[in-house]
């Protein structure tokens, strides 16, 4: 054995788990291997994030690189605009309605998928498809389903007698129906994601716990609400948090289905930021609208960090 390898027996005897001393040469190598990623993320996530904050305080526009500092003027004018107020409300309605629906349906579906049954792997594949399909293309499929003239949903409603002949739903041309369509599609897409997370949580509950609850005379509902849901709390938190982020910041659905219409009544924050900042060319204003996404993200980050610290301690 060469003399340059500094006492390898010791290194093997003491496994290098987190918190143990790591050899200096390894630590240097670790820094070198990590550096490119940190530099990239710094330059292309952290700096643009700061730039977004900065731009929201300026009057920059898409045509030129000149701008001047306008303080909080963008925020003032944005908050006074009825379109923005509407978009802010829509974003919360959209997030709340779709996440509540996803959580209820996801719990039901995850429980159904817990059992073993014939054709389970096929069923699982089919149920997960909406999450894997590219969102813009899946939404296009729904656009055709909700088409103003050929909607198959209207055909079904006519056949079952919900709609009388002569009555008609213009799904994407109406504010309420438009929001219902947007929420439905989002639930369709997010349900697989949440279900798989919840399923992971359910399967992590030891079967002894369920049996013990049954022996103690707990009924199914009592078992679900008093034993399983409390035990699944961390995983429910994860499912809700990611669901909220993906919903709160989404613009693809609204952009592709209604373009925010009719009369800007179905905009959410993200689609409005796109309309103002990119299509409209008012970069400062668009940035100001997008900044309203930040508080929710900060809350999420804090909850995540807390949860991870707790997981470390336990």
């Amino acid at each position: 054995m060469s003399t340059t390898t500094s006492n390898p027996a010791v290194a093997v005897a003491a496994p290098l788990s987190a918190g143990d001393t790591i050899r200096r040469s390894d630590r240097r190598l670790g820094a070198i291997m990590l550096a490119p990623t940190l530099v990239y993320i710094g330059l292309l996530v952290a700096v643009p994030f700061m730039l977004a904050l900065f731009l929201s305080l300026t009057n920059s526009s898409a045509g030129s690189l000149e701008f001047s500092f306008v303080g909080l003027a963008n925020f003032r004018s944005v908050m006074a605009s009825p379109v923005f107020q509407r978009a802010l409300r829509n974003t919360f309605v959209f997030t709340l309605a779709s996440q509540v629906t996803v959580m209820v349906l996801g719990n039901i579906l995850a429980r159904a998928l817990m059992k073993s049954f014939f054709g389970k792997s096929v069923a699982r594949f089919l149920i997960l498809m909406p999450w894997a399909a590219p969102i813009s293309l899946a939404t296009l499929g729904w656009l055709w389903i909700f088409d103003s003239t050929f909607s198959v949903i209207n055909w079904l409603l006519l056949v079952v007698g919900w709609l009388q002949p002569g009555q008609w739903y213009y799904w994407l041309g109406d504010t309420t129906l438009g929001m219902i369509a947007i929420i439905t599609i989002h639930v369709w897409r997010m349900l697989p994601f949440s279900t798989v997370i919840l399923l992971a949580g359910l399967t992590s509950i030891p079967s002894e716990v369920r049996e013990a609850a049954a022996i103690d005379g707990a009924g199914t509902l009592a078992r679900i609400f008093q034993v399983e849901i409390p035990m699944m709390k961390p995983i429910l938190t994860v499912a809700v948090l990611f669901g909220v982020v993906f919903t709160f910041t989404d613009m693809s659905l609204v952009y592709l289905l209604t373009r925010g219409g009719p009369y800007n009544s179905t905009h959410v924050l993200a689609s409005l930021a796109f309309q103002d900042g990119v299509l409209g060319g008012d970069v400062g204003r668009g940035a100001a609208v997008a900044i309203f996404l930040v508080p929710v993200l900060v809350v999420l980050a804090v909850v995540m960090l807390r949860a991870s610290r707790r997981a470390e301690v336990v």
Partner: protein
Amino acid sequence: MVAVSPARRALNAVVHRATILFFIAFAIFPFYWMVVTSFKQNADLYVGATDIRHNPFIFNRPPTLDHLRTLFGQTLYPTWLMNTLLVGVAVVGITLLLAVPAGYSLARLTGRWGERLSIAIFLTYLVPSTLLFIPFSRLVSLLGLTNSHWALILIYPTFTVPFCTWLLMGFFKSLPKEIEESAMVDGCSRVGAIGRIVLPLAVPGLLTVVIFALTLVIQEFVYSLTFISSVEKMTVSVGVPVALVRGDVYYWGSLMAACLITSIPIAIVYNFFLDRFIAGFTVGAIK
């Protein structure tokens, strides 16, 4: 266990079956609709939903391949597929170059502060494209990359790298340390041990990362919509919904064929890797 009567058990089975069927129907209905639309003749397609005797769920006339022929012969769909693949390969390459060393470093070489750092890196995955597209549009025009694939190649790793670093870190942690340590006892350097021992063992993890980076690129919509304006440079997720809709001309057969052909392969590949993807989100919440 509490005894359950046979009638009750039969009822449970029926309810269970019905629940599963309901969710399957909900999940696949749009895909079924794409299939039917792709192969229907126009005369069968554009009847109008007011005619309740015309059942839109079935083929009332023989199926046709016209829409597929139009899609591949008269639209830019094949070009968009190539563009997407081109951007995808470049982004996957960059992602591997950045995320593999970073993931290994966080798993093995950085100790306690590495754990904190890894969570911070993961959190950057959650900074949404809808917040960053405005500063990026400045950056892209400053660099002269407007309407260029390079803009996408530069920016897409902002969402592939954090998530893939996180996934790979978990993967490297799951490999036993003793393997590279014994290689190092045998005279290998750390870098040599990584190249000769660790990476070959990590092939399943690397494959997962390749698949995810590629699917994330194919699915991406917001940046592509923002930075690519000329039709022949679009990626498939933007070209189909933005450029394939020709004004008021009804074109749904080819549109749905494009959606179907793009979605199905991704859905199949994705399905094999989904559990690992989800595991990336749930680290820490499940012990």
